[in-house]
């Protein structure tokens, strides 16, 4: 879902950068307030793991592929949507600057889609779903799926605003592909949460008002 430079006119890309910078500032405020010494290894490992797993494109039908985004995972494990913005921004900067994956002028849009939308949708849908299922894993799966699917639809709207995709066809094709890629997102999110929960139940954020472990 990494938008390349050519897909968005520079004035719009600049606007996305401004919005992204506001969320980056808020994510730094989150980090300043919530980051404790015992959380540092988890943040570092999550960021590295998310970077690595984003390199694995899994084939889906229609000659297409997709990879995990990881925002829902970061937000759920660290207990804040701003944690996803923090982690995904680092990942996207390294991807864009070192590997040309995702444009630089449009990096603000990529941070909004994958970090902000992914993080907020993932975090709040997880929080709403845990009490419903009384189990964190199906909640994590659906939160992961939704985070990717909604981020893809937002990307399609940005493409329509940019004049790159017609709105309906953009929503249809982005929705179709990412409904399938979302299964990868949901599955890996649930598995990763299981692994972290098993290794270190103490460092994972509690979904508020719900029973975990």
């Amino acid at each position: 879902m990494h938008i390349p430079d050519a897909f968005i006119p520079i004035p719009q890309a600049a606007l996305y950068w401004i919005i992204a910078l506001i969320f980056i500032a808020l994510s730094l405020r989150w980090a300043r307030k919530e980051m404790k010494d015992d959380k540092i290894p988890l943040v570092a490992v999550l960021a590295a793991g998310i970077f690595a797993i984003q390199a694995i494109n899994i084939p889906i039908p229609w000659g297409t592929s997709g990879h995990m985004m990881g925002a829902a995972l970061a937000a759920i494990v660290l207990g804040s949507p701003f944690a996803a913005v923090f982690v995904l921004t680092l990942v996207l900067i390294v991807q864009g600057v070192l590997f040309g994956d995702g444009g630089l002028t449009v990096m603000g849009a990529n941070i909004i889609n994958m970090g902000v939308i992914g993080g907020f949708v993932g975090f709040y849908s997880y929080r709403a779903l845990v009490p419903l299922f009384k189990n964190i894993y199906p909640a994590a799966f659906i939160a992961g799926w939704l985070s990717l699917f909604i981020a893809a639809l937002v990307t399609a709207v940005e493409m329509a605003v940019a004049g790159t995709f017609p709105l309906e066809l953009g929503l249809f094709s982005m929705g179709l592909y990412h409904a399938v890629i979302g299964v990868i997102e949901g599955g890996i999110t649930a598995v990763a949460i299981y692994l972290i929960h098993t290794a270190r139940p103490d460092i994972m954020a509690e979904p508020s008002g719900a029973v975990s472990s």
């Binding site: 797993i53 390199a55 899994i58 991807q95 790159t164």
Partner: protein
């Protein structure tokens, strides 16, 4: 599991994924790219054949629409290292993984510092 073990176990998992990525990843276009090719006539949205010729034209066409001609030569374009094939890609992704780990660790340390 103590914190040190957790950190190293997590890093080990990330590095295994990084090293394996180029050998197992699909080279099909990703969702956004595939939608782009579909909309610009280089493939059917629900088909899988990509016309190389149309794909190139599509890229010129979209640049003409947005006027965003910005381009930037990244050191390891598309996770490749010049002259090295798949092993170079594995190395590039490992470098990226370690770099992300170091930046995340360093920045988190700074953020966690008391006033």
């Amino acid at each position: 599991m103590n914190t040190r073990t957790f950190l190293f176990a997590g890093l080990a998992v990330a590095l295994v994924i990084a090293a394996a990525a180029p050998f197992i990843a699909s080279s099909n276009p990703d969702g956004l790219e595939s939608a782009f090719f579909g909309i610009f006539g280089a493939k059917e949205i629900q088909g899988s054949e990509i016309s190389e010729e149309h794909a190139e034209a599509a890229e010129e066409e979209v640049t003409a629409i947005t006027g965003n001609e910005f381009s930037f030569d990244s050191p390891f374009p598309d996770y490749t290292i010049e002259g090295l094939a798949k092993y170079g890609e594995a190395a590039a992704i490992i470098i990226g993984t370690v770099l992300v780990l170091a930046i995340a660790f360093g920045l988190s340390r700074i953020m966690a510092r008391p006033e």
